[in-house]
């Protein structure tokens, strides 16, 4: 009989052998949505923190500060001129900007308090250097020495390393949380499968009597769990995405700095969406696989007990 047979159209499509909405179905999906929501948020925060760290690190690595320890305040101008000359010779492409005595003094005010600096106090000369490449510290120090200058060069690598280490821990925490939620989803799926097998014992009995193998019955459980997992994963990820967008682009984004955490250009946003999609699929796969495993084990156990 061909599919175009008009009488075949009268028959409704095949019904699922297991009830579409068992008693615990809705609450179980709700639990899965919450877990997927938490996992998605952890993923988005991890990626956002990682992205922010890279941006800050890039900015830090491009900016360096050179301090010139002046021999006396009266030598500020010639010694600063010599220092700038050395920098321009060594880094012709770099942007070099020297701070005035007042600007330099403002930097040390937190340590000295509000009192005015004595006129003869040799406040170190500060020069900001922006360069694409990393500053050749040893070469510069030697050249400053040859020019009779005492210098301290800070390329902010210490802050950058601290930042990377902290963000690395945050990312690890995010990955741990996603893994933790994955383990919880597995446990929930196993529990739900056992409960489902118990509550649908009569149906399982009929299927067994009709010759259904364990794999066939487990396949039904896998289908049911996969559907639940996909709904939970997509809804949870969707909700997390909505919250992420509200935090990032909503009215409070500027004050708490969410915007800088979320924004990363089209490619990064695309990767975020892809990651959420993959997370939903992984969630679905975890639920399905654990349901299949639990069903096979439970059916084997029931048979041994019979």
């Amino acid at each position: 009989m061909s599919a175009s047979d008009p009488t075949l159209a009268l028959l409704p499509p095949p019904q699922s052998l297991l009830p579409a909405r068992p008693e615990q179905g809705r609450s179980l999906v709700l639990v899965l949505i919450i877990m997927a929501f938490l996992a998605s948020l952890a993923l988005l925060f991890s990626r956002g923190a990682d992205r922010l760290s890279e941006r800050w690190s890039a900015q830090l690595s491009q900016t360096s500060t050179v301090q010139i320890m002046l021999s006396s305040e009266y030598q500020r101008e010639p010694e600063m001129m010599r220092a700038i000359e050395v920098l321009r010779e060594t880094l012709p492409e770099a942007s070099i900007q020297s701070l005035s005595r007042a600007q330099s003094g403002a930097l040390i005010r937190p340590w000295l308090g509000g009192t005015a600096l004595p006129d003869d106090l040799p406040v170190p000369g500060v020069i900001q250097v922006e360069a694409q490449a990393k500053l050749p510290q040893e070469v510069l120090t030697r050249k400053f020495e040859e020019a009779g200058l005492v210098s301290v060069i800070d390329d902010h690598s210490r802050f950058s390393a601290d930042l990377k280490r902290t963000v690395g821990r945050l990312v690890l925490l995010g990955v741990g949380l996603v893994t933790f939620v994955g383990v919880a989803a597995t446990a929930v799926s196993i529990f739900a499968t056992r409960a489902s097998l118990a509550s649908q014992r009569d149906i399982i009995h009929v299927l067994v009597q009709a010759g259904a193998t364990d794999r066939f019955i487990a396949g039904l459980m896998v289908g049911q769990a996969a559907k639940r997992g996909l709904i939970g994963g997509l809804c949870g990820s969707g909700l997390a995405l909505v919250l992420w967008l509200i935090l990032s682009f909503g009215p409070a984004s500027g004050t708490v700095g969410w915007r800088s955490l979320a924004q990363g250009g089209l490619i990064d946003s695309g990767i975020d969406l892809l990651a959420l999609g993959l997370l939903s699929l992984a969630f679905c796969a975890v639920c399905a696989l654990s349901a299949g495993w639990a069903a096979l084990r439970q059916l084997a156990f029931e048979r041994r007990r019979a």
């Binding site: 009989m1 599919a3 409704p12 052998l17 009995h205 299927l207 010759g211 193998t213 019979a306």
Partner: protein
């Protein structure tokens, strides 16, 4: 060398007890030859349903051997047992219909489980539903059926895949005499086509309809003939 035509079902010295209780069945020997038609009688509580459960592989005996289609069941793996189950049609007293599936889907279940295509088995299901008088109820759900309709649906499900062995527990208990006779004709027809039939029943009129072997179960022990059950 094995017997070329082994019995469809052979029980040897079967004993069954639940837990540590007394034996429900004790030293039961029963052999059903291929293509035979057998009635199983006995008083209520004699162990008929338990014996049938052993026959359709729902229970394992505490002792003794069961050979089904020439295979020693104790030597088979679970997946092999499932393949054997597909050759058995079972009609249970409580019907065991799946409530969320339509009558049509319930009847088609064994074929669906066997992996057949819907288009292939559809004519058979339609024809059988019309034969048992459920053609007009094919889209109904079991909770909306009468007891007799449920029974006919369960029988249709049991015979849809033309089983080699048909086991029925009081198959005409809930239908009127006319439908009972009609269902018995269905069983006879299947038997004529080679299906081995084992029917547990209290219905002496049903037994009188067909000249078939009758075995009697009393206090867990089996014997030929109607036994005291027929005399009472």
């Amino acid at each position: 060398m094995s017997d070329p035509t082994p019995p469809t079902l052979k029980l040897e010295r079967i004993g069954l007890r639940y837990g540590r209780g007394q034996e429900v069945l004790s030293g039961v020997d029963l052999s059903l030859e291929p293509g035979s038609f057998t009635f199983l009688t006995g008083e209520s509580g004699a162990g008929k349903s338990t014996l049938l459960k052993l026959c359709y592989l729902n229970l394992k005996p505490s002792r003794g051997l069961i050979h089904l289609f020439g295979e020693d069941l104790s030597a088979l793996k679970p997946a092999q047992l499932q393949i054997l189950r597909r050759r058995i049609g079972v009609v249970l007293q409580d019907f065991r219909l799946i409530d969320h599936l339509s009558v049509w889907e319930n009847v088609a279940l064994p074929l669906r489980v066997a992996g057949m295509s819907r288009a292939d088995y559809r004519p058979d299901v339609d024809e059988l539903l019309n034969w048992v008088g459920l053609g007009h109820r094919m889209h109904a759900l079991p909770p909306t059926l009468s007891g007799g309709e449920k029974q006919r649906c369960a029988i249709a499900r049991a015979v849809i895949n033309k089983p080699d062995l048909l086991i029925a527990d009081e198959p005409t208990g809930n239908v009127d005499p006319d439908m009972g006779a009609r269902l018995l004709r269905l069983f006879s027809e299947m038997n004529r086509m080679g299906t081995t039939v084992l029917i547990a029943t209290h219905d002496l009129a049903l037994i009188d309809e067909i000249s078939a072997r009758t075995v009697h179960l009393s206090e867990g022990i089996i014997g030929e003939g109607l036994g005291p059950f027929g005399a009472s």
